[in-house]
């Protein structure tokens, strides 16, 4: 049964790829909209093996190498994500420790959660220009809230459980309470916050690069699209999807290792 389902999954993917190959070849879709998948994959292979984007536009712009864009994107994601985790986690702890503050901030947090921070990008350009800074700030602001909220939520859940009482009855000191009770107890919630923050930061960085940057994979997608370099555009999209999938499965693997001990 399991192998049959797995086989069917592959069949679905193959069928989809065949359709995507056939449509442009049959002339049903214009090449500006979609190139045959084989062309796209070949282009991706070319970009990866030569390290250069075959494009007159990027050659003229002086940024033909994949490395220049990849490093910009990865750097922005890394900095904004690290900021979201390193600032958001202690902020969540603070929010849990100070219930009054949490109650005061509650409505703002709800609004902030729902707010498309990204819509403020013109303001960020006005304030910080078009470099690395506004992209990283947007990525950070987009990712940080879920870390704060999940950290506070996880710790509050531990408080609802009996574990802190057990800890106190066993004579744990405050530091031991944090490290041996609250941290492992809240870990699943905290980790899913960290995982979501990565997704949010990545979305924000790629989207910002569309609009603000002259570097980065988002920028490559946007410029290729505007210059009708359809194969380059799809190759860059594939690269982004592949990278996110890789990072996500890495995080899921870590998370599962964490969960098997807990659930």
């Amino acid at each position: 049964m399991k192998t049959r389902i797995r086989a069917l999954r592959w069949v679905t993917v193959l069928a989809l790829l065949l359709v995507l190959e056939a449509l442009p070849r049959a002339g049903l879709v214009r090449p500006a909209t979609l190139e045959p998948v084989s062309v796209i994959f070949l282009r991706l292979g070319e970009i990866l093996s030569t390290g250069t984007i075959p494009s007159p536009y990027f050659a003229r712009a002086g940024s033909p190498t994949l490395a220049s864009h990849l490093s910009a994107t990865l750097g922005s994601i890394l900095v904004s994500y690290a900021g979201a985790v390193l600032i958001g986690t202690p902020a969540g702890v603070l929010l849990w420790r100070l219930p009054t503050l949490a109650r005061v901030l509650q409505p703002y947090l709800v609004v902030y959660y729902a707010l498309p921070i990204f819509a403020l990008y013109p303001l960020f350009i006005l304030l910080f220009g078009t470099g690395f800074l506004p992209i990283v700030l947007l990525g950070f602001l987009f990712g940080v809230v879920v870390v704060v909220v999940n950290t506070a939520l996880g710790l509050r859940r531990v408080d609802e459980e009996i574990y802190p009482k057990v800890g106190r009855s066993l004579g744990l000191r405050p530091v031991q309470m944090y490290l041996s009770i609250y941290l492992p107890g809240a870990a699943p919630y905290m980790f899913s916050g960290w995982k979501l923050a990565f997704v949010y930061s990545t979305i924000s960085v790629i989207a910002s690069e569309f609009l603000i940057s002259v570097r980065g994979l988002g920028h490559v997608i946007d410029r290729s699209y505007r210059n009708f370099e359809t194969a380059n555009m799809y190759a860059a999209i594939l690269l982004v999807i592949g990278g996110v999938m890789l990072a996500n499965s890495l995080l899921t693997w870590v998370e599962r290792r964490l969960y098997t001990r807990i659930e």
Binding site: V166, Q176, S180, A187
Partner: protein, 260 residues
């Protein structure tokens, strides 16, 4: 000198939700001798758990005091261990790690932790499950882990808050017998809260019957039955009479509470 002295204890809970205050305990006094097995029985919500947590130093009384081993209780003490009703095993730790938990917190050297933990795991009959996680154990086994985690610290006083309350009848009976065996082996003093009269009579030397909320002491009876107590003894006329008498008193409390 009694090992536990509860003197004129009262407790009023002030919920921080702004709900009206709840009087949980009113003027409760009793004492427990070293080595005794005392059961506290009362209707649900009569403040039994509150009483136990005050003795454990996890809550402070509104008035009155508890003296344990000659010293007033001001917080959790190493001589006192408590086992809770709900599953309190740490799901992120294996059986062995759960049992070692308190030893580690007290800075016992790792090799010593291992020896003591394995000894207690043997005592509660969990050998072979050292490396299982709580999710892989049954409810009864998890409660054994929780008991072992408390016992490994060698408390002179063991407070048990309906420790078998969440378990099925057979497991309860079995664990009750095991508890008596352990009690005889470690020679601790046990204060055991339950709402099950038969369980109380089967296990304890003395049974303290409490009223509905606010909890007061209604009656204290000596069971005075010889040990070990088997099923024939539990079915004997004296025990049945005692159970009927206590049940009649308990019934009045439950009915007046309007819970039936």
């Amino acid at each position: 000198m009694p090992i536990i002295e509860v003197r004129a204890l009262s407790k009023v809970h002030h919920p921080n939700t702004g709900a009206p205050p709840v009087e949980a305990l009113r003027d409760v006094s009793f004492s427990v001798e070293a080595g005794e097995f005392v059961a506290i029985v009362g209707p649900s919500g009569c403040g039994k758990s509150t009483l136990l947590e005050i003795i454990a130093g996890l809550q402070s009384p509104t008035s009155g005091e508890v003296v344990v081993l000659g010293k007033p209780v001001q917080g959790p003490r190493t001589e006192v261990g408590i086992v809770f009703q709900e599953d309190s095993t740490f799901p992120w730790l294996s059986t062995l790690e759960n049992v070692k938990f308190g030893l580690r917190a007290r800075g016992v050297p790792p090799a010593e932790q291992e020896i003591q933990a394995k000894e207690v795991i043997q005592l509660v009959g969990l050998q072979g499950f050292e490396h299982h996680y709580p999710r892989e154990l049954s409810g009864g086994m998890r409660q054994r882990v929780a008991i072992a985690r408390t016992l490994v610290l060698r408390p002179q006083i063991l407070l048990m808050d309906e420790p078998f309350g969440a378990l099925d009848a057979q497991t309860r009976l079995l664990l009750g017998n095991e508890l008596l065996r352990i009690w005889e082996e470690i020679k601790a003093t046990i204060l055991f809260v339950t709402h099950d009269l038969v369980e109380a009579l089967r296990l304890a030397d003395r049974v303290i019957l409490m009223t509905r909320r606010p909890g007061r002491i209604k009656r204290i009876v000596e069971t005075a039955a010889p040990r070990p107590r088997d099923q024939t003894l539990m079915a004997s006329a004296e025990i049945a009479e005692l159970a009927n008498m206590l049940w009649e008193e308990l019934r009045q409390e439950v009915v007046q509470e309007g819970r039936v």
